[in-house]
Symmetry: C2
DNA sequence: CGCATCGTTGAATTCGATCAAAGAAGGTGG
DNA sequence: CCACCTTCTTTGATCGAATTCAACGATGCG
């Protein structure tokens, strides 16, 4: 698991130093917040089991889901800039996270080039991830959005050792719609449409990808 | 200028070390690329004069403007994750940037807690900035998007010592539309509408904010 | 000065939102 | 363990905002 959060290129000693600081893990039950917007930032997290959504609340009360994190993925990077979190991280199911005290990680960064590089990459990946999402929100039509989301999730699941073609969505249609910038009804209709086109088959939250090339062509 | 890119909390020595590594500046003329997607990442940049857009090109050739950088703002953070840039940075007018070799900055990070913190904040701010943009793209209607953009730009200009209420847009309606997830005609219509509502006055690229509270209420 | 790019406006169309209602799933307490 | 209630999902009908297509006017660069 640590290898997942903190990949290759680290020496045995660096890994053991990492082990020392990631001593704590925390359970978060379904619907509970790992952290909330405004909370003081002190830890990064890595999802060990389960999944989360991150939600930004706008001044006027409108909410938007800005991401989903599955096992093996980092959480909390948004908090670094001003020492407080900018979003809520809510468990979509009973979950467990590794707690990584950020000041210790920073310390390690100063000692190890490899650790430093890894942390920088994690943060920059987040920036790249969001660029892709902006493209989705800015340019794509409903069915392209859903297809892109499914292909992306499939890839992430595969990278973690799960099936790439058959999986359960942990979020509701409403949460997915919020993430993809569309209403829950449109999400539902789009699933039905993709199923009619024999690109996927769905049954509630369980999804099977039938024709990934077709999905890519949208 | 360096104080703008690299703010407070740094000791005299840290500042002078920074000075040493930011020795180079580079001119980029209008329409020219500072870097392109795929270019090897080796430097961060800070806009010293002028302005830039960053553009992501999708697999299928569609392009999206993902940001605008004005004087005093950093550029190139997207490249850190995989050592190559993920977007093009194109000058909107003849511009000058400070060149910050990233490996030197990394070195400095390892030596100085304050520098490290500043770099982390810069990266995390980028993440937060993109969250806000996602909210805009996902949830807002055309006039809200334009109003939000104008208020945000006004604030950034003010922070750099320019007028908050009167400025020239450096980008075309098309580029702005790409950024805001709408067509150039819609951008144009929206400007006209806001002008009819006496919230702004525009004349081509020059904009004056007449009623910022009104704009905030959308 | 002329040509190309950029901006504005109008009319028709389309896609997704909204309103509405009914059916499925899931968790809780009796 | 089942019934009930809540939450979630699906589907239909209508509506509205933004896109598309089109034409013209303005701007600015070479």
């Amino acid at each position: 698991m640590r290898a997942v959060c903190m990949p290759d290129g680290l020496s045995a000693e660096e890994l053991s130093r990492l082990d020392e600081i990631i001593c704590l893990s925390r359970r978060v039950s379904r619907g509970e917040a790992l952290y909330r917007s405004g909370d003081t930032f002190s830890n990064l997290y890595a999802v060990r089991a389960g999944s989360f959504k991150t939600v930004v609340t706008h001044d006027d009360g409108r909410e938007q889901v800005t991401g989903f994190a599955i096992a093996g993925e980092p959480l909390g990077l948004d908090g670094i800039s001003d020492e407080s979190h900018g979003c809520d991280a809510i468990a979509l199911e009973d979950s467990i996270v590794c707690v990584i005290p950020f000041h210790l990680l920073e310390m390690l960064c100063r000692e190890s080039r490899a650790v430093q590089r890894h942390v920088h990459r994690m943060m920059s990946s987040e920036i790249v991830r969001e660029s892709a999402l902006m493209m989705l929100l800015g340019n794509m039509r409903a069915d392209e959005r859903v297809a892109t989301f499914l292909l992306g999730l499939s890839k992430r699941l595969e990278a973690r050792g799960y099936s790439a073609s058959e999986f359960n969505l942990r979020m509701t249609r409403d949460e997915l719609g919020s993430y993809l910038g569309m209403k829950l009804e449109t999400v539902s209709r789009t699933f039905s449409k993709l199923q009619r086109q024999a690109l996927i088959s769905t049954q509630g939250k369980s999804v099977r990808l039938l024709d990934t090339d077709g999905l890519r062509r949208v």
